[in-house]
Amino acid sequence: MRKAKQKPDVAELNDLCRTIRKDILISLNAAKSGHSGGSLSSVEVMVALYFYKLRHDPQNHQWEGRDRFVLSKGHVCPALYTVMAHAGYLPTDELTSLRKLGSRLQGHPHMLKLPGLETSSGSLGQGLSIAVGMALGAKMDNKDFRVYCFMGDGETDEGQIWEAAMSAAHYDLDNLCGIVDRNRLQIDGDTEKVMRLEPYCEKWASFGWNVIECDGHNLEELMAALDQAECNCGAPTAIIAHTVKGKGISFMENQAEWHGIPPDDEQLALALKELDTKPTKEQLERADG
């Protein structure tokens, strides 16, 4: 049996999320291109994974028993790189090399460049199938590692996602957890106008998955959902994480046009200021006192 991890201090993790948002925006600004909106909506999910749920070892990233994280929505790799940097996989100084020639931090993740990445990704719709293969392999070998696949909601327009969903249920892959960043926006706009996804949870359920909905910016809810996914036996679990695209930055929130652009210097300064004005754990404690 896998031992339950001790829950981390949520206030500390919320502070970390704010730092990560800053580092993401700084790296995107340095790159002068890249995906702001989805990176910001993904932060809490990846923090909940890397700082709570995943069994992993940044010092021994090839450790066989590690849990696997597949970032299917590869364009939000600025968030993944930043979370990995804070988890100890790479120096935070390196984050500003994003998308530059010769960098380990490719515009979409490349596993042969950056140790610790489990897959390369970028062409949408492919990650869940890879995760199915990994989970199937774990079952064959009686290994107890778990596989997590993070997808965008717009990404699930791709038919291959549903092929993969079908096969995960067919092979009873309860060691697989899919997480959807349900921010309801894709490049062309509202997901329901581009290609209607609703009734979304029912779709996953009808494919034979356990479905958990949660607030994708609430770390306690995310951690509870990830715990619950681990207890579901006999079927894979989909966590539909309701999020806000561009989360944390007033002028980016819920704006489809922020999907694939970085902040310029002025916008970065404004964004960092906004993130600074939000209270930190210490400030909240002082206020309580």
């Binding site: 696997r68 597949v70 490349h110 596993m111 042969l112 489990e118 897959t119 390369s120 990704s121 970028g122 062409s123 719709g125 492919q126 990650g127 199938s129 890879i130 995760a131 199915v132 293969g133 990994m134 989970a135 199937l136 392999g137 774990a138 064959m140 070998d141 290994k143 291959q160 092929e163 993969a164 079908m166 096969s167 067919h170 092979y171």
Partner: protein
């Protein structure tokens, strides 16, 4: 008359050989399990066979995931589907990360026959060979396909092996040398070289005999089973020693095997060259022999091409 056997039988036997040798080998099928002969592996190692249903893209990426946790997966379907429908998966997930995924492309070429254009893989060699990290093998008969299947299972990295459905002459035996990346000269000659892969190797041998009898031309026949990585040395040697080349394939001429040979010839030793294969058209329904002749994939086309190349030779 030589024994006739479909090259897919060699693939099925090769999978079983690998399954016996290496526990890590797993096989995936997309509802074409018996027509790819993957059922021979399935019957013997049911725990290491997975059906994905009719879902080639999903199958290819499941294979990628299995390879990432230490398995050696073989994806089995028709060449037209794995190279066509799942090309993005092969490119971006498998080849980009240099994953240890093997692709079996059944029903290669025009000779699959009456099913018609939708099921004839005429572009798969072109699609696969342009991908970085990919190895591409088109063996000349069932015996060689078995060796090729085992060989790609024993190397690391993405590989595609193409084979056909129809019985074709068995022209090699267990003793015939087979090394990935190394061409074999099946007949020596000094006036011209016919370089071929797959079914067309047998046709090239027939063509060489005709050229000998009717034209007193001494043609070298080279079996270039590994399209990629290509044996540059053998091609350069053939070009410089014989001064003319004919490349023959059961595939579109544009971008395929002959193009691969030409890339080497032009760089290493430019000589007159001709291409035999399918000339920029879709296939159609028909009996295999009729179609092969209709589409320019028989010995007589090699003979004509050789005569043209020889005319140009200085």
């Amino acid at each position: 008359m030589p024994e006739m056997k479909p090259s897919r039988d060699g693939y099925g036997l090769g999978l079983v050989d690998l399954g016996e040798k290496d526990e890590r080998v797993v096989v995936l099928g997309a509802d074409l399990t018996s027509s790819t002969r993957a059922n021979w592996f399935k019957d013997k190692f049911p725990d290491r066979f997975f059906s994905t249903g009719i879902a080639e893209a999903n199958m290819t990426n499941i294979a990628a995931g299995l390879s990432l946790v230490g398995r050696i997966p073989f994806v089995c379907t028709y060449g037209v589907f794995v190279a066509g429908r799942a090309w993005d998966q092969v490119r971006t997930t498998v080849c980009y990360a240099n994953l240890n995924v093997k692709l079996g492309g059944a029903h290669g070429g025009i000779s699959v026959g009456p099913d018609g254009a939708t099921h004839q893989a005429l572009e798969d060699i072109a699609l696969m060979r342009c991908l970085p990290n990919m190895t591409v093998v088109v063996a000349c008969d069932a015996v060689e396909t078995r060796k090729a299947t085992v060989a790609i299972g024993e190397m690391h990295g993405p590989a595609y092996v193409r084979f056909g459905r129809e019985p074709i002459p068995v022209i090699t035996d267990d003793a015939t040398p087979f090394t990935l990346g190394k061409a074999e000269t099946f007949r020596d000659g000094s006036d011209l070289s016919i370089i071929a892969c797959g079914y067309m190797v047998g046709e090239a041998l027939t063509a060489a005999e005709t050229l000998d009898k009717e034209d007193k031309v001494s043609a070298r026949v080279i079996n270039l089973h590994t399209v990629k990585p290509i044996d540059r040395e053998a091609i350069a040697k053939a070009a410089s020693e014989t001064g003319a080349i004919v490349a023959a394939e059961e595939h579109q001429v544009m971008g395929g095997f002959g193009s691969a040979v030409a890339e080497v010839v032009t760089a290493e030793s430019p000589v007159p060259m001709r291409f035999v294969g399918i000339q920029y058209r879709f296939g159609e329904s028909g009996e295999p022999e009729e179609l092969l002749d209709e589409c320019g994939c028989t010995a007589r086309f090699i003979v004509d091409a050789a005569r043209e190349a020889l005319k140009q030779k200085k």
